[in-house]
Amino acid sequence: MKQKTDVLQGTLALMVLRTLDVLGPLHGYGIARRIEQISGDLLAVNQGTHYPVMLKLENEGAVASEWGASENNRRARFYRLTKTGHKLLEAETRGWEQTAAIMARFFDVKAEDLS
């Protein structure tokens, strides 16, 4: 059985931003589904947990939301990335890549490299 991972603090916001960046405007359910799908169902996140995160992003101006009709003609609130959100995503992505690169070097390091 696959071990499900807890979400690292703050990464959920980045996942939301990236999902909206790739797929364009989505409603809350859609975002939750896509994140599950992209992570390969490895994340142990209740879908409701996205809502506080999206509210925070909205308060920061990174996403905007409005009512619309969903694919099966239901009323749903659609979220989309704003200009601020794009900038935020770029900055955060750079930060993550840097962190990942640094961590990678630590994993690659061997005792003889440092002697």
């Binding site: 809350g28 939750a32 209740n46 409701g48 809502y51 506080p52 308060n59 239901r74 749903a76």
Partner: protein, 896 residues
């Protein structure tokens, strides 16, 4: 940026809570519907589909809570909630709230009042641009009897101006003159200044122009600037005043400008600050002496440093300049005179004299506020023990400790802020009355007001006080032992021993602080009393002095009182006529410096026969008086004779000296018959004919200041005073003297009428003010400390009622119970007093400069104050002790 945006969004949500909640509910509902539909598609039965959807969504409550927190401002919400709760509580116990708010209102109000004085005087003493650049330049000759502030010569002034240290250096000398040609003739204070005076201060006239700062005219220019007050009073605010003329001491001057309304000269005395006219002078031509290095003028020197130059840096450059001048002019600056020039920040010279008093007052009032805080803290603790149960229930229901502390702190801050607002309101209401209490001699008295900085201070003081008296009780209360407290349910909860301990500690603090204050007050009181009761050496009773001034026209030929022979007939006529005024028994004339305690300095260089020509002679206080002066003031003659009517311009000049002068200059010889001169330019020798006893006519604190008296008929004194003794009608006399002087010469104004008793009390006014204030604060502190110990002992007694009942039932004597309680209170008071004594010793040494005739360790004050404090403690404990004594063992035990 993002944070700010988020905050604003939350603030907006906070205001429109309803819609946001609605939206969230709908969104979540939609989400669940999606999930359920998907589950249905996957073949689940409807009920199971819904259940799984809810599971997958997560705990709805928690998520809503999180969203809620993100949307709004939870801190403010809880704050509002706490405030509402606190207000309800206060409404339920209005007595407690009223006492706490009142205590804080008095403490914060008083502290703010004193701060407003400190703010105006110490923090903003100079209302000129870049005040830090302004310095007073003072010449000292420490080699010659430690002479200080000896004045400056014109060549030295030019040296300073060209030294590159200053932007401007301005000389100024005060005086008063008779103003005619205005609405009515009057006596006004004027100031002769170098033309760069306003440039130095950086002030522009409101109307007209200023003097040309580069004007090199050696003598008086005939241009003057007038004050806003004089403009409005004497000229009715005439908008075309510039260019008009006025007469000063009969000389014609042209008004070139009017100063702005708030402008005051940077002088220390009220008289100086009320200067109303400025005339420009180069001080280098008549009537000033020739501009030589050795003729020092008694002028004040104020300079504006080059920007970026600190006082210390300027001083070291100045020292180098002085050293090179000493080398260049060795005959003018002999090494033994040790000439040096000091720079004193102008601010220092204006407020330096009152700084210590004001800091003492601020310290004293802060102590009162602290004691007030301790008292309220004590009250809060008493309430806390009653609220122990409430706190326990709250904790049991899951309230975090920080949350409880926050709630309790909200309550105390609310109390202190209410107190602060009430204090400010009292201050606003009473400010007219309070300002009257401040002695007139305080610099910048007119500028004391409740401005923003003062309000900010009040706010900060309130918050600090609230935290101070709220934190300890809040901490203690929130630490309630849950199980213990809840179990006590039926018996009514009681405070823990820890709380009792804290209350004891608070009482000890209160007593320590009170003792410090009371000892400070006691020392000031003793100083004041000693000064008040000092042997004056003269009799001020039933004596009135009235001043008048003879004009000094710029051209000596037009001066009708130019020589002693010309002036003497006027003086004799004035004496003769004054003697017949109603009620007058004795009358004398003298220079205005001869008015006791008027703080006019009138020093002249003293040259003794046989001592050789000194380059820098010592200075002596000089007064010119008519023969009757000594008898009128009842200053006894010790040796020789006093002046007689025959000592006039035709006979050799004679002098009378006081014992202090005899001791200083002829310590081992008979001064009678010795000869001296008082101005290097005068070539006649003056013979000492009499020695009078020392009298404190210079200052109450100075017992023996050398003084030299000359016969008024042998000198040309322009600043005169008439002294009258008898059963005087002090209200009518000034007008009568005025009339009398006018009948001799209608051009002479009469002013400054005062009784010597008034002068005496005025000279004590600053000391009286700080003494009264500190005494008032000390009494308040004593009262608060008494209340504090009363409250604590009462509480302890009620807590021990049961124990006392058992003791009584087992046969303890009632007197023993009384003694036990009293001993408990006494112990607190004594520990407090012991701690306070240490503090008092430190404070007393810091305030040594404010004391007179009493040492900072005065045993009488220390023992006396400690006794009073102990007595108050005992009295405060006696009431609860009697209650303890009367405990009925039956009643006390029945409660078990």
């Amino acid at each position: 940026m993002r944070l700010l945006r988020r905050f604003l969004a939350r603030l907006a949500n906070f205001a429109t809570r309803q819609q946001a909640d609605q939206r969230l509910r709908e969104e979540m509902e939609e989400h669940l519907a999606f999930l359920t539909a998907e589950n249905l598609r996957n073949g689940m039965p409807p009920e199971e589909a819904r259940r799984q959807a809810v599971l997958k969504f997560g705990a709805m409550g928690t998520i809503k809570e999180q969203c809620h927190a993100e949307q709004g401002l939870p801190f403010i919400e809880t704050l509002l909630q706490d405030v509402r709760y606190a207000l309800r509580l206060f409404a339920k116990s209005p007595g407690f709230a009223a006492i706490a708010v009142l205590t804080m209102a008095l403490g914060i109000g008083a502290t703010t009042a004193i701060f407003s004085v400190v703010d105006a005087t110490l923090l903003h003493p100079l209302l000129y641009p870049h005040p830090a650049q302004l310095v007073k330049v003072e010449d000292d000759l420490p080699g010659i009897n430690g002479a200080r502030e000896v004045g400056i010569s014109i060549p030295e002034w030019k040296d300073l101006e060209h030294s590159g240290i200053f932007q401007y250096v301005s000389l100024m000398g005060g005086g008063s003159a008779n103003l005619t040609g205005s609405l009515q003739p009057e006596r006004i204070a004027f100031f002769s200044v170098t033309p760069n005076y306003l440039a130095t201060l950086g002030v522009k006239p409101e109307l007209g122009r200023w003097f040309d700062p580069d004007d090199q005219t050696p003598g008086f220019t005939l241009d003057v600037l007038i004050s806003d007050g004089l403009w409005k009073r004497a000229y009715g605010g005439d908008p075309h005043i510039v260019g008009k003329s006025l007469r000063l001491d009969n000389d014609l001057y042209r008004i070139i400008g009017v100063m702005p309304a708030g402008f005051h000269d940077p002088g220390r005395t009220t008289e100086r600050r009320n200067t109303e006219l400025w005339a420009a002078s180069g001080f280098a031509a008549a009537p000033a002496p020739l501009p030589q290095r050795n003729s020092r003028l008694t002028l004040e020197t104020v300079g504006r440093l080059k920007s970026g130059l600190t006082v210390a840096a300027a001083q070291s450059r100045l020292d180098a300049l002085v050293a090179s001048l000493q080398k260049q002019f060795p005959t003018d600056y002999p090494a033994q005179s040790a000439w040096r020039v000091r720079l004193v920040p102008l601010k220092e010279s204006v407020v330096g004299g009152v700084r210590q008093s004001l800091i003492l007052l601020l310290g004293a009032v802060t102590l009162v506020l602290l004691i007030g805080c301790v008292n309220v803290a004590n009250l809060m603790l008493a309430r806390a023990s009653a609220r122990g149960h409430e706190m326990a229930v709250r904790q049991a229901l899951g309230a975090a400790r920080a949350r409880l502390v926050q709630q309790l702190l909200t309550e105390s801050l609310l109390l202190s802020l209410a107190g602060g607002i009430a204090g400010l309101a009292i201050l606003f209401g009473a400010r007219g009355f309070l300002l009257q209490m401040i002695p007139e001699s305080l610099p910048r008295l007119n500028d004391i007001s409740i401005r923003w900085s003062v309000m900010l201070f009040a706010l900060l003081a309130s918050v600090a006080a609230g935290v101070m008296f709220g934190l300890v009780p809040a901490w203690q209360t929130s630490r309630t032992n849950l199980i213990h407290t809840l179990r006590q349910e039926g018996r009514g909860s009681k405070g823990s021993t820890e709380q009792t301990q804290t209350r004891r500690l608070l009482v000890i603090t209160e007593f320590a602080l009170s003792l410090v204050l009371m000892i400070a007050a006691g020392l000031l009181l003793r100083s004041f009393w000693d000064l008040f009761k000092v042997r004056l050496g003269f009799n001020p009773d039933h004596v009135m002095s009235v001043r008048l001034w003879l004009p000094v026209p710029n051209d000596p030929k037009t001066d009708i009182y130019g020589t002693p022979a010309q002036e003497a007939p006027f003086l004799r006529e004035l004496l003769h006529r004054s003697a017949s005024l109603p009620g007058v028994q004795e009358v004398a004339l003298g220079s205005s410096a001869a008015i006791p305690l008027n703080h006019d300095r009138n020093s002249f260089p003293l040259i003794l026969e046989g001592s050789g020509m000194q380059k820098e002679p010592p200075l002596i206080e000089l007064r010119n008086v008519t023969p009757g002066y000594f008898h009128l003031l009842e200053i006894p003659l010790m040796r020789g004779r006093l002046f007689s009517d025959l000592d006039d311009a035709r006979t050799p000049q004679v002098a009378v000296i006081n014992e202090a002068m005899a001791r200083m200059y002829w310590p081992n010889a008979d001064p009678l018959g010795k000869r001296l001169r008082v101005r290097p330019a005068d070539h006649t020798w003056i013979t000492v004919v009499g020695v009078i006893a020392d009298a404190r006519t210079e200052s109450l604190a100075g017992a023996s200041i050398p003084q030299l008296y000359l016969s008024a008929y042998q000198s040309r004194e322009k600043e005169l005073a008439i002294f009258l003794r008898g059963q005087l009608n002090t209200a009518a006399l000034p007008a009568q003297v005025h009339e009398l002087v006018r009948s001799i010469n209608p051009e002479l104004p009469v002013f400054g009428a005062q009784t010597l008793d008034d002068a005496l009390s005025a000279s004590l006014s600053e000391r009286r003010f700080s003494m009264e204030m500190v005494a008032l604060f000390a009494l308040t502190a004593l009262l608060l400390a008494g209340l504090g110990i009363y409250g604590t002992i009462s509480y302890l007694v009620s807590e021990r009622a049961h124990e006392i009942g058992i003791r009584l039932a087992l046969g303890a004597q009632r007197a023993e119970i009384l003694e036990m309680v009293l001993r408990q209170g006494l112990r607190l008071a004594l520990v407090g007093a012991a701690v306070g004594l240490v503090g008092a010793l430190i404070v007393a040494h810091l305030m040594a400069g404010l004391l007179y005739g009493v040492r900072p360790t005065d045993p009488l004050t220390f023992v006396g104050v400690s006794t009073v404090l102990t007595a108050v403690a005992l009295a405060a404990c006696y009431i609860p002790a009697r209650r303890a004594m009367r405990v009925d063992p039956l009643v006390a035990l029945r409660y078990e």
